[in-house]
Amino acid sequence: MAGAFAASIYQTLIRRNAVYLTSIFAGAFAFEVAFDTSTNKLWDTWNRGRQWKDIKYQYINKAEEEDDE
């Protein structure tokens, strides 16, 4: 089972160098995006209500209301 899986990975990704390199770069890009998204989400959960993006709506809305008046 594992052997078949490894063999299919070898055949599809590693056999040809161009495909191998492309998959490494694409994998790095995808990992970067996924890692950043997930850690940022975790960070914002830990710091809910503490950061500027959590409180700015109060002041931006206020400025717009003042403009309307």
């Binding site: 890692f35 850690t39 940022n40 503490r50 950061q51 500027w52 959590d54 409180i55 002041y59 400025a63």
Partner: protein
């Protein structure tokens, strides 16, 4: 190495002779001084005195100052923004800036902080532009060499209340109000010290304490005599978000604000550190696995010694 072995080889004939001589003489000596007990007791007493005085001299903490000159050690407070995974509370930073503007700024400068650094941290662009425009700054010399005044821009730094140190000292009875940009980093105890100092003014100095004219008593200030009087009283500012402006609330907010002024990069630094440690933990585990993988043939091989079959 070679020289030593040569030396040893050449020595023996004389060495043995001298060893014999010395052995005989020391035997004779021990017979004559049959009671070395007083020597033993003298040596023991001398050693005990030496050890004791060394412990006494080096073992205790050296204090160059009296406790009053040292100042009372600040209470340790559980600062939420001090935790490894917490950012500043930006609502508190906004309140703290209000306290700085309305209370501290009349004497203390904040010269290393530009107006632009508040944008996207505590205030919107328009709010900060309005603050900056309230102040006047020097222009570049015009074509007649005259320096004129212009309203402030976001890129300007917060103006100091006094033009120079002499003016500041003259206005404050000889005492210089320190710049607050880096004060949290510049004082032992950091946030705890400043909070204790701001909230630690007693109603009247304790019995026996002498306070000079124009000075105030604060146990947390080294020397206990501080030129700054108590400035934070309940309700001295009115917070726009409705938070009750008690003394400790204002002190906490302004301390957190000053911590931000000293290290505005803290939020990003902690976030990047968290990401880096997470990634490096994964890479370290991977490297351990690779090491074990590469070494497994060497670690699991068996070396067998098969002696040559002897011919009979």
């Amino acid at each position: 190495m070679l020289a030593r072995t040569v030396l040893r080889r050449s020595v023996p004939s004389r060495g043995i002779a001298s060893l014999n001589k010395r052995a005989s003489s020391s035997a004779a000596g021990s017979e004559s001084a049959s009671s070395p007990f007083h020597l033993t007791i003298t040596a023991s007493v001398a050693t005990a005195i030496a050890l004791g005085s060394a412990t006494y001299l080096y073992g205790q903490e050296a204090k160059a100052m009296t406790p009053a000159e040292e100042g009372l050690h600040a209470t340790q407070y559980p600062w939420e923004h001090g935790k490894w995974n917490k950012t500043f509370d930006h609502q508190a930073l906004r309140r703290g800036f209000q306290v700085y503007r309305e209370v501290c700024a009349s004497c203390h400068s904040l010269t290393r902080v530009p107006w632009r650094s508040f944008v996207g941290v505590t205030h919107t662009v328009d709010e900060m532009k309005a603050f900056a425009e309230e102040n006047e700054y020097d222009t570049e010399p015009n074509d007649q060499g005259q320096i004129e005044k212009r309203p402030g821009k976001l890129s300007d730094y917060i103006p100091a209340p006094y033009p120079n140190e002499e003016a500041a000292r003259f206005a404050n009875g000889g005492a210089l109000p320190p710049d607050l940009s880096l004060i949290v980093k510049g004082r032992h105890g950091g946030c705890n010290y400043i909070f204790s100092l701001l909230t630690g003014y007693p109603d009247e100095p304790p019995a026996g304490a002498t306070v000079q004219e124009g000075m105030n008593f604060n146990p947390y200030f080294p020397g206990t005599a501080i030129a700054m009087a108590r400035v934070l009283f309940d309700g001295v500012v009115e917070y726009e978000d409705g938070t009750p402006a008690t003394t400790s609330q204002m002190a906490k907010d302004v301390v957190e604000f000053l911590n931000w002024a000293a290290e505005p990069e803290m939020d990003d630094r902690k976030k990047m550190g968290f990401k880096a440690i997470t990634l490096l933990t994964g890479l370290f585990a991977l490297s351990v696995w690779v090491k074990r993988y590469k070494w497994s043939p060497i670690k699991t091989r068996k070396i067998v010694y098969s002696p040559p079959v002897s011919r009979r």
